[in-house]
Amino acid sequence: MTANTEVAEKLESYIRAQFFVADDDDFFTRDVHLWKEGYVDSTGAVEVIAFLEDEFQIRLPDEVLFDPNFTTINGMADRVAGLIHG
């Protein structure tokens, strides 16, 4: 399993559980825009970042919140994997 996939799996599980995503929600994928589609609100964005930092022992800069790629599970996984591998 690649680092990206591992991060994406853990993040998907976290978001499904913390933000009550229904199991039969077919619209929810690892490429859905989490902010625009309302899966994670502004307060929840902080929780997602805290989860990623704690789980993978990294520090995400504040500016990442406006990275156009840091809006989906896959995009976040790419960014985190990049930080893990320096």
């Binding site: 307060t43 902080v46 929780e47 805290a50 800069p61 500016e63 406006f66 990275d67 156009p68």
Partner: protein
């Protein structure tokens, strides 16, 4: 290489600059920074500025906690502009997608003709740095830091009368107690919503504000406002508070009422207890009328504080609002952020953590009754019954959706733009030059 200061759009916001030994005009500090970038590490304060050099490179600089705001805009037609007020850039005709913020504790270089943008963070907070230190050492350091900041403020401001916004809580009473020691003329100002001056309940903010003023032997100016008068200040609270989220708007409303009342002479300096709650993560959501207001991320206090502190990047509930009324707000706790962020996580874990900390730092400078006061958020009235600004707004149907739509209308933008401009307490900043020239999220 010579530099000139770029005049902001709107009303310029005078910087508050502190240096351990030097006392200079702000322009000299900023020029010293341009000549020697490391100089920024010797400065504390509330500031935002933009300089431009001979080759057209703009140098942007903002204070470590983001107390002063720095919005900038660029489009090929209008060129570059900046302002501490988002609204000023919209009024100048810049489309929303061309407007950005410089993050707190950052400096940036921007050259439009060369399409260059670079961002550098010059300060990081070392959260929990004092883990393992004794309580006596920690509280002694915090007290020494407060003493130093107040001495620097007194030196920078000179022997002028200062006001303290006094709510009767620990934070503002602590500021009043320190101000009393370092300034020769201190006066308190407090705000009461819908209260009969003669019958103040023992649990009310006003009761404790009077008690604190009496203990410190400072005069107290009381500003009494009814709910309708407060609601009239909503546009000022939104435009100059630069945020639509209820916890900031409600705080901004109180400050707008104080400013609009006109009791304080123009140009007055106000010292406030703001930012302490962020620095020690002393917030909790408020249940009222079947809803939960002021929601927070579900994190432990030690973890939460980093996000509350970085969230000071957005919202201008004090400095911006008071500035609109020609009053200068200074937040001394923000100037001691390095000390408070160094507190070990364990110090924040208990519900009465702040009270215990303040007691050790301030001792009997603060009256015992204020230490014993049940914890009440400033915008929700007293400890017997939720009320205050929150209730006044809810009673008038002014809820979160209304605030967002109204703020968007004032900025002449779509409400959806606000979600892309302010996320998790941070105003958006460009990641690189490509975003400035073509924002794909626009």
């Amino acid at each position: 290489m010579s530099f000139t200061t770029v005049t902001p759009l709107g009303k310029p916001l005078p910087p508050i600059l502190l240096h351990q030994t030097q006392k200079q005009p702000p322009a000299a500090f900023f020029e010293a920074w341009r000549q020697q970038p490391e100089f920024i590490n010797e400065i504390d304060g509330h500031f935002a500025t933009v300089l431009v050099d001979d080759d057209g490179t703009y140098h942007l600089l903002r204070d470590p906690l983001g107390v002063h705001k720095l919005f900038f805009a660029f489009d090929p037609e209008r060129g570059f502009a900046w302002s501490p007020l988002l609204h000023a850039l919209r009024e100048a005709g810049y489309p929303p997608r061309t407007i950005w913020s410089l993050p707190s504790a950052c400096c940036a270089r921007f050259n439009p003709s060369q399409r260059r943008w670079s961002l550098q963070r010059y300060r990081e907070w070392d959260y929990g740095a004092w883990s393992g230190e004794s309580a006596t050492t920690i509280t002694g350091r915090i007290r020494a830091r407060l003493d130093r900041v107040f001495a620097q403020l007194a030196a920078a401001l000179g022997d002028i009368p200062v006001w303290v916004t006094l709510s009767g809580g620990l934070d503002s009473t602590g500021i009043a107690a320190m101000a009393r020691r370092f300034f020769s003329k201190v006066e308190g100002v407090t705000f009461a919503l819908d209260l009969d001056r003669r019958h103040v309940a023992a649990g009310e903010d006003l009761h404790y504000a009077r008690l604190a003023a009496d203990h410190l032997s400072i005069p107290l100016r009381e500003i009494h406002v009814d709910g309708d008068t407060m609601a009239e200040q909503l546009n000022n609270a939104l435009i100059h508070g630069q945020d639509w989220r209820d916890f900031n708007v409600h705080c901004a409303l109180v400050n707008a009422c104080i400013g609009a009342h006109g009791d304080l002479p123009p140009g007055s300096v106000l010292l406030t207890g703001d930012t302490m709650n962020e620095l020690v993560a002393d917030y909790s959501p408020v249940p009222f009328a079947g809803q939960t207001f002021y929601p927070l991320p579900r994190l432990k206090p030690g973890r939460l504080r980093r996000f509350l502190v970085s969230g000071l990047d957005s919202g201008d509930r004090e400095v911006g609002v008071f500035h609109h009324f020609d009053l200068t707000a200074i937040q001394p706790y923000a100037l001691c952020a390095d000390a408070y962020t160094a507190l070990p996580d364990a110090w924040l874990a208990n519900d009465d953590a702040k009270s215990a900390l303040v007691r050790q730092v301030m001792g009997d400078l603060i009256p015992a009754a204020i230490y014993a006061r049940p914890k009440v958020r400033a915008q929700v009235g007293n400890d017997q019954q939720q009320g205050g600004t929150l209730a006044a707004m809810v009673a008038r149907g002014i809820n979160g959706d209304h605030l967002k739509e109204r703020f968007a209308a004032q900025l002449n933008c779509a409400p959806a733009f606000l979600d892309s401009f302010l996320r998790a307490g941070i105003y958006r900043s460009p990641l690189g030059p490509d975003q400035i020239w073509a924002d794909p999220s626009a």
